[in-house]
């Protein structure tokens, strides 16, 4: 048999057999891209750029679609369908800036009438689905890169489905001061701050409040409004002068 000559001595560093040794080798197989997705309805999906089995980052419910599989995976959350075509556009900043990456999933498989992914898109939204993307080295069973966020559907075409990513915490779109001084209660009904257990939603007014001790609003009694800083119209108007009892 043809046997190549003895190789050179192993490098002293990085440590032989380690993740660094495998990643840093001059040759080898490309790592695998793994994508875990959990929709807001609890369904989980696991896609990769090669068929793969490993422990996921996110788990969830087996979607109803899987019931139609001829050979479903024995453990739904551990198996990655080879549907991930591309994952690119990651851009990380030291500042508060955030960019959107692009995750491309195939939209070809299915039966003669229906496409798998298209059916999933129509079944429930992927908007806001939690995802974890990893670049995974199968020999070492470790990821070299991991990125989390949420998905938004950018486009679903006949061949591919393109998701954009939203930063996981998305601070730029979260109010720092979501509550206001208002005569309407600021709690969502049954929020822990409200804690009403009667399952009888209110209308966020004091008169419909089920837990008045926890009413998170202010109540004004209007006696006069002249001189309170309100802008006056330039025409003769009647001054409201009322007292409201509750």
């Amino acid at each position: 048999m043809n046997l190549p000559p003895a190789p050179n001595a192993p490098k002293a560093t990085p440590a032989a057999g380690s993740l660094a040794g495998i990643v840093g080798a001059a040759s080898g197989q490309a790592p695998v891209f793994l994508l875990d997705v959990v929709r807001t309805n609890g369904d989980s999906f696991h896609w990769a750029d090669a068929p793969f089995t490993t422990t996921p980052v996110h788990t969830g419910n087996t979607p109803a679609w899987a019931a139609g599989l001829l050979n479903p995976p024995p453990i739904w959350d551990n198996y990655y369908f080879p549907w991930l075509m591309n994952a690119d556009g990651f851009h990380l900043y030291r500042t508060m800036q955030a960019d959107s990456a692009t995750l491309v999933v195939q939209n070809v498989t299915g039966n003669s009438l229906q496409r798998d992914v298209a059916g999933l898109l129509r079944g429930a939204t992927f908007e806001g689905a939690l995802f974890a993307f990893r670049i995974f080295q199968p020999e070492s069973q470790e990821a070299t890169f991991e990125y989390h966020g949420r998905l938004t559907l950018v486009s679903a075409g006949e061949m591919q489905c393109q998701f954009g990513t939203v930063p996981l915490f998305d601070e730029g779109n979260v109010d720092a001061n979501p509550y206001e001084y208002s005569e309407m209660c600021q709690w969502t009904y049954a929020h822990p701050g409200c804690d009403d257990a009667t399952n009888n939603p209110c209308q966020n007014t004091y008169s419909t409040c089920r837990q008045t001790n926890r009413f998170r609003g202010v109540l004004n009694t209007f006696q006069v409004n002249v001189g309170n800083g309100d802008t006056l119209a330039q025409i003769q108007t009647a001054v409201p002068n009322r007292a409201r009892m509750f």
Binding site: N2, P4, A9, G17, G24, G28, Q137, P138, Q141
Partner: protein, 265 residues
């Protein structure tokens, strides 16, 4: 089973292509050359062999049959045998259209048809010319990189008698220990040494246990082919040697080892 549909089952079958068909090996890897140093190589995909085929001056029946193979297996695969190349089976499909052209009455030409192997397809007969079509995947690459990843208690030991000149020697006392290697190809052979103080470990392919290898032998023997797995479809495969913390009753220790793989290409 589509692989049982052999387009050209015999060397004289009329659907054998004309001579000088091109055997191609599409590039499946990325070569990246930095400013300094040797280039970096990474295999990106699992594309197999590709053939550019021609059939000149065929009767209409042959043209029709070739066209049928294209239409029938546009989204499937069939078997094509390279009789000229030793009779090796290839499972794939025509990835470019079959477009017969009449050159004279009942004389048809079909040119520049591309046949591509389909990764992952089951084969009737797997490639088995270990002396000609297989390559060695030694423990240490030409650049000094140790190519087999490990987890747990493994020692890289120099061994002049080994194929790789080095062995991974595993203590085999903790069942979470493993050594792993990924390759592109079909089947493989697992090579190591045996001896009186050796144990047992599971050989796993893509997550499925193939066998439990017993490394025990009464006397020490180098370069032993301890397992051959022939029937493996084309693809990128993960081979693992997983510790079992067991040994042959006659052995005095649990030690297991990894020398080299021979991989069918």
């Amino acid at each position: 089973m589509p692989q049982t549909d052999i387009m050209n089952p015999t060397p004289h079958h009329p659907l054998n292509p004309d001579y000088s068909f091109q055997r191609k090996r599409p590039v499946t890897h990325l070569n990246q050359k930095a400013k300094l140093g040797a280039p970096y190589f990474r295999n990106l995909t699992d594309v197999g062999h590709q053939f550019l085929l021609n059939w000149m001056d065929r009767p209409v029946e042959a043209a029709d049959e070739l066209k049928w193979y294209y239409e029938q297996y546009r989204d499937g695969y069939f078997t094509w045998i390279d009789h000229e190349g030793g009779g090796r089976n290839y499972v794939g499909r025509f990835s470019s259209p079959v477009e017969p052209q009449p050159t004279a009455h009942n004389h048809w030409s079909i040119q520049m048809v591309t046949f591509d192997e389909v990764p992952g397809a089951t084969m009737l007969q797997y490639p088995n010319r270990w002396d000609k079509d297989a390559i060695w995947q030694l423990l240490v690459s030409d650049f000094g990189d140790v190519m087999v990843a490990t987890n747990g208690s493994w020692t890289l030991t120099a061994n002049a008698a080994a194929l790789s000149k080095y062995n991974w020697v595993g203590a085999n006392t903790n069942t979470t220990d493993w050594a792993a290697y990924r390759y592109l190809g079909y089947g493989f052979q697992f090579w190591a040494y045996t001896g009186p103080a050796m144990g047992k470990a599971n050989l796993v392919l893509d997550g499925t246990v193939l066998t439990t290898i017993d490394f025990y032998s009464a006397g020490s023997t180098q370069r032993v082919m301890l397992w051959q797995q022939l029937a493996v479809p084309l693809g990128v495969h993960l081979v693992q040697l997983v510790a079992t913390n067991t040994k042959n009753g006659a052995s005095s220790a649990n030690t297991v080892a990894w020398d080299a793989l021979k991989v069918m290409r």
